[in-house]
Amino acid sequence: MSATALVCDIVRFSSVDGPGNRCVVFLQGCNFDCIACHNPYTINVCNNCGECVGVCESGALSLTASGDVLWDPAACVGSDSCVGWCPHDSTPKARHMSVPQVRWQ
């Protein structure tokens, strides 16, 4: 049983996060709330308000019976409409990952 963390996204090739080419793991949730944040959708954890479900043009988002927002990566086209719409500085696409899962990616 390994610990997991909420991962917003993994950027395989980043050339804007320091010298060289870096693989960057963006974690979801930040204690700061900087006004000029470059990735504001990483600030909060999704509160399942469901606002984004109707915005998704590819039908990749739905509400479960228990009222949680469910993201289907296979249907997602990566338009980030949900992220742009989110009233809560979050994303419906964050997922819990263990260290081995992140390394496998």
């Binding site: 950027v11 395989r12 804007v16 010298p19 470059h38």
Partner: protein, 529 residues
Amino acid sequence: MSRKERVVMEMHELRSVGRSLIGDHTLTYHQRVARLANLAEEALDAPAVSDACAAALNKRIICDMFEGHAPYRARYLLPDYQLAIQQGSHYLELDAPTNLNEALWFLMAMYTQVPSITGYPVYLGDLDNVLAPFTVGMTVGDVVSALRPFWRALDRILPDAFVHVNIGPDDSVMARAVLQLERELKQVVPNVTLKVDRKRTPDDLLLDAVRTVFESGHPHFVNHEMMVSDLGDRYGVVSCYNSLPIGGGAHTLVRLNLAELVRNHTGDVQAFFDVALVQYVELASELIEARVRHLVEDAHFYDHLWLIDEGLIALNKFSAMFGVFGLAEAVDQLMLMQGLGGTYGNDQIANELSYRITGEVAALVANRPLPHCEANAGRAFLHSQSGIDSDIGVTAGTRIAVGSEPSVYEHIRAVAPHHYLFESGVSDVFHLDNTARANPESVVDIIRGAFREGMRDFTFNLDSNDFIRITGYLVRKSDLEHIADGVRHSSTLLGAATEAASHVTWRRPKRMVSHERAAAPVALFGAPV
């Protein structure tokens, strides 16, 4: 002159084409002389081949690169300049040079006496090694001062971008001076390749080279360890990504148009592999054999060559080159035949199919003995041919179609599995966006990573300099604008035709800001709208 037909010209047509060449004010005197010589060669009978081979050639399923009907000089020669410098030359009536200045003049004299298919030498040597004895104790600044007039003269005396210098894999004042001059002078000639070795090439040299590409489009990068394991440590990269043994070269290059082959194929995918591919690899090999025999046995090129007499090249270090191109269209078409829509470079099934095609071609070429090809144990070297000006609607070599290239990581992963097969060179051009300028280290990482993934050759360029890499050679955008008035570099004429036919300027730039989202206004102010 039409390059479509292989029939021998009638005299009245020959006269008419000759007359129009003589009257073409956009060609320099030397460009006219070269074209008139080609025209004369076209008037001769081509080496005899079977009817099937001639038909394949007329349909352009196989292509002789329009080298000419009567091969009388090898396509690529890589003289051993190091040996020439050590022993001096009886033919050139020059003693072995004793200092850098003498060495540069020795080389310049020698370059003018080295033949090739283009009329200009396609290989100027591994200049850091060749000139190392004369730069002991010199600083980079000293070498730059000594080299600058020589470098300018190369571009003026040999105005053809297939003229190629090699440096690396070790760091040296000469390698640094070459890079500095490339940044400063921004010349089309010479084309430059940096050999990159995981251990021997320091990051700092690679970084210098990457910054040089930002300014001048040069150099091209090769995976030194992979080259050494295929060709031995005495190899050179010449013309457009053609890697061949030093002291030898390639008699000729014949290429197989995979796109056209699939277009003419009437059976299913299995029949393509079992019948069509087998048949046309043989027809291309037949053409190679006829052309090699003409060059060696009828034209006696190597019997009367000063480079042979002085031991600077040897016939047993030559082979022929078997090229392929149009893989992208071939794969996409074969996918459609199976009812699949995936395309090469963007779909795993399509990519697997592409590896199967090149793997089959490699196996067939490795099983076809050819005369006078001792450099590769009597077989042709396999080559991913990067295109010529008359190619329309067909992608160079094993590249992904221009405009369909995926992001850097996927691009490297898709094409790398082909590279080990092509010992005499393969090319993929990575078009990076300007963000790379702010982070050259990231490009160093990409090159190192690409070579670890099994890439043999790596070329990139940015939008923001004056250079476009056409096939493997470079032209300046500013020269293309004046093409109607004529240009000094013969290769720029080819580049203009290629740009018109293949839109190489439409290569999709890689977003270096990978998957980063632009901050939306809603986010900037921290409040939802």
